[in-house]
Subunit: 204 residues, 2 copies
Amino acid sequence: MPRVSHAKEKLTEAALGLIWTSGYAATSVDDICAKAEVKKGSFYHFFKSKAELEIAALEENWQRSRQVWNDLFSPAVPPLQRLEDYFQFVVKRQGQLTEEYGSVLGCPLCSVGSEVGSREVGIRDKTLEIMERYVKYFESAIRDADAQGLIVAPDAKAKATALYSYFQGVMAQARIANSLEPLRELKSGAWALLGVRQVELVGA
Amino acid sequence: MPRVSHAKEKLTEAALGLIWTSGYAATSVDDICAKAEVKKGSFYHFFKSKAELEIAALEENWQRSRQVWNDLFSPAVPPLQRLEDYFQFVVKRQGQLTEEYGSVLGCPLCSVGSEVGSREVGIRDKTLEIMERYVKYFESAIRDADAQGLIVAPDAKAKATALYSYFQGVMAQARIANSLEPLRELKSGAWALLGVRQVELVGA
DNA sequence: ATAATAGTTGACTGATCGGTTTACTACGAG
DNA sequence: CTCGTAGTAAACCGATCAGTCAACTATTAT
């Protein structure tokens, strides 16, 4: 069978970046095709709609970032350290993205999922599905921290959900304020939420 | 001078509802005019762009909700009670909106502000501005709670910001999941974040 | 070599986009 | 009563929207 194509990958990559920065509705299929250097006919050869492409792009993005998460949330790392490392990673990563795209982007799941709401159920469901996967990383870290007596969290899943909500909220604030500053407070807020006993004496 | 018009009010009202449900980019000027029963010519007689209308709609919405907030966050009410009352109000209000619009809407500031990002700076700035006003209500409640020894919060502003982020995150989750359930955890999450000593023994 | 087919291309659709224009109309101040 | 004007109406603009289509092309398994 004929021809090997990279159009699919180029399209998902372009869609992810464009929609992350400009939003789903504001990004046109033509924009995506232009950035991917793929003609529209090819687009619809691989995807039956713009929504389907976005869903594929979100899944693709998860597949990429899960590797990083597996590393950061390794059970070999002390549980609270995992979270701290992750927050630090987020600051660094969002800094890179800001340089690359010109403004603070925040979380690609939350902005898109929240934007399309009930108007694109497929996309909304996909964001929910992936979010649940992410929460599991928080959950096991919290459960381990509880087991080690570092925090008191009898309901690890509920705590993880709360922490994830807080995290998303901070990311949204950073995006709207177009500033990395809110991200630097991630740790202190998370520690408060989790009831971590503060060992360090900061500042004054 | 001739004629008194309600077109302006009808337009802001329609814009608020439509954009809250469907997002900014996905809501067309024609949609807004149709719902408001106002012709496009009148639209552009009162507003010079779609963005300007949305900004006016957000301000209008603030003016309406500030009255509720003034009531809920009255200094006559014990500080933690203010927050608890507010969370309860949010559940009720989102329930009404869900019936009226058919799905969970979340926060109109956050969805829109996050959607338009840097593409509509006027709208983004307006959402930021209003958000800051809301945070002040949290801040004074937290400061009062600290003064009364109910919580330990030497930096009330930072705590308020963290709480607001958490709140926004929960609202976003409710919208994406199209469920009121996440909202019912607002209090427990907030209390954890604020370090409120739990008096009650819930459930088992 | 060639046939079957995955992939490409660009022109095309009709609808809709945000916004403009121009003529008209209703009303309140003098 | 009537005149100036705030407001209304509807047709209209070029651009862009998501999606279609039929002709074409390059590949590769045979």
